[in-house]
Amino acid sequence: MHLVVCAKQIPDPETPPSAFKIDPQKNEVIPAPGIAPVLSQFDGIAAEAALRIKEKAGDTKVTVISMGAESAQQAIKQVLAMGADEGVLLNDPAFEKGDPHTTATVLAAAIKKLGHVDAVFCGRQAADWDWGEVGILIAEHMNWPVAIIAKGVELQDGKFRVQRVLEDGFQTVDVPMPSVITVSNEFGEPRYPKLQQIMQAARKTVTSWKSGDLGVDAGAVGAAGARLKLERLYIPEKEGKAEIMDAETPADQAKQLVEKLKAAKIL
């Protein structure tokens, strides 16, 4: 089998709020000093899902692809260290500042270029723009079925049996191959790589493809091809500070709080 994992490098979602800043002119996040970008958490989990399939099925290749800056090599290496076999970086200025549609266009072109692929694993959404669309759009490009927000994936009789998270429980669906599966945090934590794999990953070379290699029209991707135009990016004004209970002891603070709630007719 050949499984593909889509991995995205994003600004650290755990950046302290005080360090999260936006350049209003460029409508861009200003990278917080000393805080390095990370692999989007859901993508790490997607890699975990693919690797578990690989371990069970045997004779399976896992390729990780990432569209992003040169620094996204780091995200690729992380998934390689977890046990993926090959890495492809899609790095081209033409790809930048796109939307889910253009991202999916580039990724789908790369997946097609990889040749035979049995399944694509994506995170349920990237933890920066939170669209949650790319996996679905890749499936549309490939004309494959998709199962989103998976908390469990198993290979069964040549199909994927996927446990999906619903609002009020879970659903089990069978998806034929090839298909796209997007994975949610309920799946479980990604594995901690063994040091030997980290070393091997460090020595692996990551293939780099540009728009020309993929045969995509540079005008149809990135900012030029985006169908959603970012008008404004801003930090919402918070209502300000809470009214903090100032009584001496926690017991008195608790009483004070209950009094306030009664006065405000909340309790």
Binding site: D12, E14, P16, S18, A19, A36, Y192, K194, I198
Partner: protein, 715 residues
């Protein structure tokens, strides 16, 4: 005692004018040379035992310290810790007991050796006054030995001492009972001998064998014939000789082997700081990183296993064990020792025949013989190492197995994994913190950034910067440094973890990356002197960074502040009026021996009164956070911090003072659990927070950058 006894007996020989000569093979007990057969058998057995053990040690890897360097230092250790038994004495009762038995065996062995030399050598020196003295001290140490045996039996059979039951084996009764019999039969031999030899003409000489003399007087009551007594002599002689040699033979098969292994292990003891874990050299080129199989230990670690006597002192002081968590250092060492005995020979054979000895172990050592949770429960607090009377170094052994779990197997508790991942991606272990490295600076005026022109780098550390509770400590240290007029700066945003938690958790690779980076940063900024907030940073900078060519003068903030108060640069003039108890953090106290500076600092604060906890100084108990347990869920009956908090509460003090951000957090967490009532609760503070109050007054002196600036002369 010896002297007074001499006085009592006087020089009996002189007055009688006759000379006592020791008759060889009195009573024709045995053909000459028979004893040498026993001796030869014993020596053969000892050699066999040694070779058998040694061949197992040799399956280990090279030790990371050259064992034949620093010989004087090592000999001192062997004498102090081996012969003088410095550590054995840390338990008074056992110390006395052990000294009695040990000295008795040594002296009586010398006594026997003298007899042999006298009998078969050219010079007969066992005669006259010396023979009397010889018999006197022979009896004396025989008696001392019996006292020791009595104390041991009392502890084992009457006091029901808990430690003894943890791993009691039949051989234990054999050793102690056997020794008692050897000593008793020795007295019997002497008794019967002098009954015939010295009575009734030389009773004054007989008195020198004061124990045998007493027994002889008793025997004489019964009016036995000489033939009967000589028969009894022969019988007891044979019993004594057979028992004595058999007992010595136990050395090969039982824990009696510590007789040799303990002093030798003292010689092998690390000569550098215990706070320094071994560096894995050329880590990038290795295929195995930790110790998952017995043959991956160093020969020294394997040797240590054989030195263990199951005394249980390590387990007795282990914080995890005290809290009912799944770690007993004694059982860990014993389990490894058993595993070595079981699979060592297989590994040896496989090693020779197939080259890959790894496959020879039928059980996985880490996981099956030693369970994962046992390794994770360790606080790396060194209490076990501190107490071990045979100088076993448990902590490096445990960390080596953690290295296997983390780097070779990637098997880690989820929360510890998160801490490690956070170290990798964010350079600090505090996942989800909402603070920045510079958050503590708010409202403190200008905070100098270290640029190489200042004398000291004030190293805040991740805990000091990113954990809310610790910000007041960081601020207090900063204000005190400024007030003292010291020339210092901080790194602010440029600080990253120095790797200590990664190393203790077993991720040596990550540690090396972080340490290498930081050494480069320090060098590029021309850092020479560092003041740390945290004893863990202190330890790794001081003891471990030299492994990475990072040699800096490192002070913990309590050391610096102590000096500043003594020199008058800081004046604690405001009363603090509080009863305090002081908690030694493991890495400032036990590991680095800094016990006095913080205590003296507390005593210099007006109105502070200090009460010690039940366990303090080198016997202090870990707060529970060490060894990466800050980031793990505890498994077991209780939490270590609750146990320690209970001890602090028991002093009746109002405040528990420590020097470590982790300890403070553990107390903050433990106090509400131990004291559900809010009134009169124990409050945890850092030494620096208290000194801040004493120097600046109860309002903390606000942020007064002007004070130091105005002084100018010292800045």
């Amino acid at each position: 005692m010896g002297l007074s006894a001499l006085g009592l007996y006087g020089c009996t020989q002189m007055s009688t004018g006759e000379e006592l000569v020791r008759e060889s093979f009195f009573n024709n007990v045995a053909p000459p040379g028979a004893v040498y057969l026993f001796l030869a058998a014993l020596v053969g057995l000892l050699v066999y035992g040694f070779v058998r053990h040694a061949s197992l040690w040799m399956i280990g890897k090279p030790h990371d310290q050259p064992i034949l360097r620093e010989i004087p230092h090592r000999l001192r250790n062997a004498l102090r810790l081996g012969l003088a038994q410095d550590k054995v004495r840390r338990d008074r009762y056992a110390g006395i007991m052990h000294w009695c038995i040990f000295s008795s065996i040594v002296v009586l062995t010398l006594v026997t050796a003298q007899v042999a030399i006298n009998d078969d050598g050219p010079v007969k020196f066992l005669k006259g006054d010396y023979l009397l003295f010889f018999r006197f001290y022979g009896d004396l140490f025989g008696l001392i030995g019996l006292v020791g045996v009595g104390m041991a039996m009392n502890r084992r059979y009457f006091q029901d001492h808990a430690r003894i039951r943890w791993d009691e084996r039949p051989e234990d009764h054999l050793i102690i009972g056997g020794l008692g019999l050897v000593l008793l039969t020795g007295f019997f031999v002497q008794t019967f001998r002098i009954t015939v030899e010295l009575f009734p003409d030389h009773v004054s000489w007989a008195r020198w064998s004061f124990v045998a003399y007493g027994l002889a007087e008793f025997v004489r009551i019964f009016d036995f014939t000489e033939g009967q007594i000589l028969f009894a002599h022969k019988l007891s002689w044979w019993t004594h000789v057979v028992l004595a040699f058999s007992w010595l033979g136990l050395i090969v098969f039982t824990r009696l082997d510590h007789l040799f292994f303990a002093p030798v292990n003292a010689f092998f003891l690390r000569t550098d700081s215990p706070g320094r874990l071994s560096r894995i050299e050329n880590i990038e080129e290795r295929e195995i990183f930790g110790v998952g199989y017995i043959q991956d230990f160093t020969w020294k670690q394997l040797f240590e296993l054989d030195a263990c006597v199951r005394c249980g002192r390590c387990t007795d002081v282990c914080p995890a064990n005290l809290a009912g968590q799944p770690l007993s250092p004694m059982h860990l060492i014993q389990d490894l020792k058993g595993h070595l005995a079981n699979v060592g020979p297989l590994v040896q054979r496989a090693g020779h025949e197939h080259g890959d000895a790894r496959a020879a172990s039928p059980l996985t050592m880490v996981g099956e013989v030693i369970r994962d949770e046992t390794l994770w429960a360790c606080r790396t607090c060194y209490a076990c190492v501190q107490e071990c009377p045979v100088m076993i170094e448990h902590v490096p052994t445990i960390v080596d197995m953690r290295r296997f779990l983390v780097m070779d197997e990637a098997r880690i508790p989820a929360t510890a994994q998160q801490a490690l991942e956070n170290l990798e991606t964010r350079g600090h272990p505090w996942r989800g913190t909402s603070l920045e490295r510079t958050s503590w600076m708010e409202g403190l005026g200008e905070v100098p950034i270290f640029d190489g022109s200042q004398e000291y780098l004030y190293w805040v550390g991740c805990s000091g910067a990113l954990v809310e509770r610790n910000l007041p400590i960081t601020r207090a240290v900063f204000k005190l440094l400024r007030e003292s007029g010291a020339s210092f700066g901080v790194l602010g945003q440029e600080e990253t973890c120095n790797g200590d938690p990664a190393r203790r958790l077993g991720n040596e690779y990550l540690y090396q990356i972080l340490a290498d980076q930081l050494v480069q940063t320090f060098k590029s900024k021309r850092v020479q002197r560092v003041i740390t907030n945290c004893p863990h940073c202190f330890n790794t900078f001081k003891n471990e960074y030299p492994q990475f060519d990072g040699r800096f003068e490192v002070l913990h903030h309590t050391q610096f502040l102590h000096g500043a108060v003594r020199s008058g640069a800081l004046r604690p003039t405001h009363r603090v009026d509080a009863s305090l108890t002081y908690h030694d953090s493991c890495y400032l106290g036990r590991v680095n021996g800094v016990y006095d500076a913080p205590r003296q600092l507390l005593e210099m604060m007006p109105g502070a009164s200090l009460t010690e906890m039940r366990r303090s100084m080198s016997k202090g108990l870990c707060c529970g956070a060490g060894g990466g347990n800050m980031w793990q869920e505890e498994i077991g009956e209780r939490r270590v911090n609750h146990v320690r908090t209970q001890e602090a509460v028991a002093t009746g003090a109002q405040q528990v003072i420590s020097n470590c951000p982790f300890c403070i957090q553990m107390f903050e967490d433990g106090v509400p659990a131990v004291q559900p009532e809010e009134d009169g609760r124990l409050r945890p503070f850092d030494v620096a927070e208290l000194l801040e109050r004493a120097v600046f007054g109860p309002d903390g002196g606000a942020a007064q950058p002007a004070a130091a600036a105005a002084r100018g002369d010292r800045g």
